[in-house]
Amino acid sequence: MAETNGHSQANGHSYVGTRQIRPDGVDKVTGRARFGADFNLPGQLIGRVLRSPYPHARIVAIDTSKAEALPGVKAVITRDDFGDQPSEFIPAGEMMMNYKDVVRNVMAREKALYEGHAVAAVAATSAAIARRALKLIDVKYEVLPHVIDVVAAMRPDAPLLHDDLFTVGVEPKPEKPSNVAKRVEIKVGDVEAGFKKADLVVEREFKTAPVHQGYIEPHAALASASEDGSVELWTTTQGHFIVRAHCARLLGLDIGKVRVTATEIGGGFGGKTVVYLEPLAIALSRKAKRAVKMVMSREEVFKASGPTSGATVRVKMGSTRDGKFVAGFAELKYQAGAFQGSPVQPGTMCAYAPYDIENVHVIGYDVVSNRPKVAAYRAPGAPISEYAVESVVDEIAKKLELDPIELRMMNAAREGTKAAYGPKFGPIGLEETLNSIKKTEHWNTPLRKWQGRGVASGFWFNIGGETSVSLTVNEDGTISLMAGTPDIGGLRAALTSVAADELGVPYDKVRPIIGDTGSLSFNFLTGGSRSAFSGSMAIVEAARQIKNDLIARACKLWEAKPDQVEWKDGAVRPLGALAEKVKPMTIADFAKVSGKTGGPIGGVGRINAQGAGPSFGTHLVDLEVDPETGRATILRYTVAQDAGRALHPAYVEGQYQGGAVQGIGWALNEEYIYGEDGKLQNAGFLDYRMPVASDVPMIDTVLVEVGNPKHPYGVRGVGETPIVPPLAAIANAMENATGIRFTELPMSPPKVLKALKDKGLNKA
C-alpha cells in the first residue's frame, strides 16, 4: 500500500510555514463576522442578572413576586431553578472542577461569596424592563465579615467561606474547616543538602496582584430551549463542547439534546473556558418558552468573571560561586477566589522547570477568599512562580558578577535534563532562545542613566488532548474543513495550510469552519496552547484517510495492485507500465465519479493528541524610569521563543507580541484594586489600566524552531509561554535602571517613586 507522506505541493512549494491570508479574514475586516452579541432570534427576550452588592453575605430570602408581576417580565430564576450538585471532582487539569462549586458560582445558593456574585436573573421583552425588574427583586442578606488578601485568608481567625472545606494534602487530616483548600508539593533530591553546598543563598518574598485577561468582547449567550428538552445555544467560548457538558449537567439534560455553536470569539486567554451566562440563559429560556439573549456589561466582566490569582511567593535559591544552582525552594500562596481551584499546581511544577537543578522543593497553597472564582489566564500559575524565580536568578547573577544570560545558559534545561516536575525533557529550545537573544543588536546596544535592561526565560508544558476534525471533498473537488476548537488567533489559516499541503490542493480551495457540537465528535477546549498542535495532527489523519480511500478507488478503476500506484502532489499516479495505459486522477477527478466509485469522499481525525512538546522563551526589555514621577517607559522589547515549526509565522509572531504586551500591563499598571468594603474599585477599562497603543514600542520577535519529533510537522504550542517571561524581565530591567529590587507587582509609579524617595534618588 503506497501510504503517503507527501507533505509538500506539486512544485515542492508548501503552504505550511508561509504567511497565507486567513480564509476567515474578510468578514473580520468588513464587520460581517458575528461574535457573541451579534446573534439574534425572532421573539427573543433580553436577560439580565441581579448581582450581590456584598463580598460575603448569607442569602436569607429572595422575593421575586414583584418582579414577576412587572408587565414584560417573562421569567425570573434564582438558586431554586438549579438542582444542587454533589461534591464530585471532574478532572480539569489541576483546577479540579467540582460541580457543587460550579452550580454555586453560576447562581449563589446559601451565600453570596463575592461582590458581583449572581443571585437572580430575569428575562423580559426589553433591556429597560429587565433592568427595572431587577430593582423589584427583594433579597434579604445577612452581611458577614469578608477577606480578600491570600495571607489574611489563611489566618486561623479569618472569616470562613465554606464550613465544609478541609485542607487536602495535609497529614494528619484536619478536623477544622479552613480557607486553605489544598496543599500541593513537588520534591526532587534533598533541598537542605543542596543549600549546604551553596556559596550563595538568596531568599526573597514576592507579591502579585490579581489581573484580568482583559478580552475586549464581554461574555454573551443566546439560548433557545424547547419543550422536548432540546436546546440551541450560541455563545462566545473557548470550548463549546465543555459548555455543553456543563449546561447538560447543571440543567439535567442529555448532552446529545444540547447543541452549542461557538460564535467568533473576541479574545479569551483562558477566561472563556468557564460557564457564566449560558446556564442562566437556558434556564430562563426553558421557563419563558422563548429565546433569551444575555450580554455582560464590562463592569460585570470585571466583577463576576475570573481573573487570575493574586499571590504571595517566597523563593530561596542556592548557587555555587561559579554559578551552578544547587538548590531551589519555593512556597506559593495563590488566591482561588470564592471556590477552590487556583492554578497553584501548575505554578509549583513550572517554578524551576527552565533549570537543571538537582534539589528542588516547591510547596503550594490553594486559598479561597471573597473574590470572583479564578479562571485560567494564559499559562495559568506559571507567570507568577517563574517571575519570582527569574527575579532571584537575576539577583544571583548580579551578586556573583556573572552575565545574566551566561548564568541561565549554565543551568539551562536541555534534552535529557530531569525536569523539576519529574520526567526527562525531550529536545527543547531554551538554549537556542538564550543564544539568539545574545546575538541581537538589542542586547549589544549601550544604555544611558535611568535606563535599564532585563532578561528572563520562561516555560509552559503545552498539552494535546481530545480533538475531532473532518475533511470533506465536495463535488467540484474543493475541500470543506471543519475543526472543533474555537479559533481566536488564526487557527483556521494554520489548519488550512496543513490540509492544502496534505491533499495537494490550492490553499484557496479549502474552506475552514469551526463546527458546532452536533457536527463533530468531542473536542476539549481551545487552551493549553493545544489547538494548532492537536488540530494539525488530526487534519493529517483525516487527509491520510482520504488519500488511502482514493488510492483504493484508483486500484479498482485501473484494476491495478496498490504497488502499481502512488499518491503524489494531489493525485493518484500510475507507476511503471500502468502509466502508459491510464492518466493520473486528481481529487477533482475522483469527486466527479465519487458516486460510481463508492460514495461521498471524506475523512475524519478523531484523536487524543499525545506528544505535546514544551515551548521555552527568553525575553529582553529596555526601559527608562523618570526618577521624579516613578513612571517606567518601555523603550525596546525582543521575544525569542521556540515554536518547533511555525505553521503560520505571522500568527506565531502575533502570540509572542500579544503575550509580551499583556506581560507589560501585568508588570507595570494592571491590578484589581479593592476598598476596605471588599468591593472592586476599578471595574472598567478607565482605571483597570491595560497597555494602549502609545504605551509600548514595536515588539521584535525571533522565531526559534527546534522541531518536536512527536508531531508530523514538528509543531509545538506557542500561545501561553509568551506571557511567562515579561514580569521578571521588566522587574530585572527596573532593578538595573534604579538599583532597587521591586518585589511587588504591579510596579506602578506611586510605589516606584516612594522607593526612590526612600533612597533619596528621586532627582533627575
Binding site: I90, A379, P423
Partner: protein
Amino acid sequence: MARVVLVGNLAQVTGGVAEFDLSATSVQQLFRQLTALHPALERHLETGVAVAIDGQIYQDALFAPIHDDSEVFLLPQIAGGGPGADRGPTAARGRSLAR
C-alpha cells in the same frame, strides 16, 4: 521491570511510598498493578493523573506502551489555558481500570 515514580501529592495516598518497579507493559496494566498495591490510589488514577513515559507526557492514554527499561512518572494532570472541565459529567466515561 519499569521504574515508576509518583510525583506531587500522590505519594501521600500510598503512605509516602513514591517509587515502584512494576512489570506493566501498558498504562492500563500499570494502573491495575498500582491499585492492587494501594487501593486508595484508584480514585486518583481514574480522574486526575497524567503519565510521562520516557519523557513523553500522555494524558488519558490507557493503551500507551511501557517498555521493560521505561522510566515512568505519574504527574498531577496538566491543563493549560483551559481549566474547563475535562469532559464534564461523564469524565470517567466508564473507563475500565484495575477491576
